[in-house]
């Protein structure tokens, strides 16, 4: 049992938890949170693979590490866009639900004068 192994198992559990949250949580914001959790688990798996490839005097294989850095930035972009969409939905309908048959809420749409 090595350090990489411990964190690899930790990553697998994080992915499972994230997946469960994405499916079962009714609030869209919580789904976004859970999706980020899932993504961070995947990044951690990359980190474990990078750690196992430590060679040539480096603490880990730099290629997976660089991929994770790019991945974190892209995940942030996607999260920002998802949150903007969600807030717009809330503004337009007065509720932040994904149900199609939701009753129209009391929210006011500022685009309508």
């Amino acid at each position: 049992m090595s350090a990489a192994m411990v964190f690899g198992l930790c990553a697998a559990v994080a992915v499972g938890l994230g997946l469960y949250g994405v499916i079962t949580n009714p609030q869209p914001l919580r789904k976004i949170l859970a999706f980020n959790l899932l993504g961070s688990g995947v990044f951690l798996l990359f980190g474990v693979i990078a750690r196992r490839g430590a060679a040539a005097g480096f603490g880990g294989d730099p290629i997976p590490q660089a991929l994770v850095i790019t991945g974190i930035v892209v995940a942030f972009s996607a999260t920002a866009l998802a949150i903007a969409l969600l807030l717009r939905l809330f503004q337009a309908t007065g509720s932040a639900t994904l149900r199609a048959d939701a009753p129209p809420g009391a929210g006011s749409d500022p685009s309508r004068p």
Binding site: A4, G18, A56, I69
Partner: protein
Amino acid sequence: MTFASMSFALALEIVLAAVVLTGAVWTVASRETLPAVAGFVAYGLLLSLVWVRLGAPDVALTEAAIGSGLTGALLVGAAARLRSGEEQIVMERPGMVLRVLATMLSTTVAAALAASVLLLPDPAPTLAPAAAENAVATSLGNPVTNVLMAFRAMDTMLEKIVLLLALIGVWSLTPDRFWGGRPGPRHHADPQGVLAFVARVLPPVGIIVGIYILWTSADHPGGAFQGGTILAAMWLLVMMAGLADTPPVSERRPRLLLLAGPMVFLIVGLGGLAFGDAFLAYPMAYAKLLILTIEFAMILTIAVTLGLLVAGPPERECGS
């Protein structure tokens, strides 16, 4: 290293993983949104400890800056705005069947991943020697910067364009009558108060640290994203304290800054096509200079892009 200290280190890693997973469980399980967000931020913070332990301080920096810090601020803002609609949704909990199925599916996925972690090939495949061999080409000491800026520079350039596209997507959600206006609410605070004080004292320190993180990335962990994120956070702090307002999205200066990084990257890339072997091929003698030029243009672009992404779409007219 003796056996005793080995197991001591292993115990530490198990404790760390357990605390990380506590944060993760609670992010999913908490009933209210704001504590769930706080849990996620704590999880991100602990994850950067894990990255340090995995020998990846570059990733730890990114996780601390973007993954935990800026994402946290974004989520906190959204959670605070959505609070009034929360009670209604809590009612629509999914049924028993769905929850059992979801549990089975996620357990299966987690188990499969765990099995594949345990069955990873030995010795592990690695590109580290190749990265070390080719480091001469750029004369940079940090292998991750080498990969990001030279070996896989195309990915990094496209990633910047993804950031820009996300911002365009966010802006396109603007209600018609606010188009070209200012993002976010106008914050007011007592100019003599503690928030205004910290927003005057912290940003100079933050700017120095941000530039230092970029400057040190040639040979030590760091980089333009990490530095740019710190700059963005300082800018947002100043706006939150009401010392400055968000710029209208129709203004020319922020738009030029948004484009500066990708444009410099593209010009250098095309220069490689004209004078070198391929797109983004740096001539060996100028490699370090060109990479640093791109990174300095990048840090400004990243700071402005991230700041505006967190600020959201315009929701006021220019004057108000």
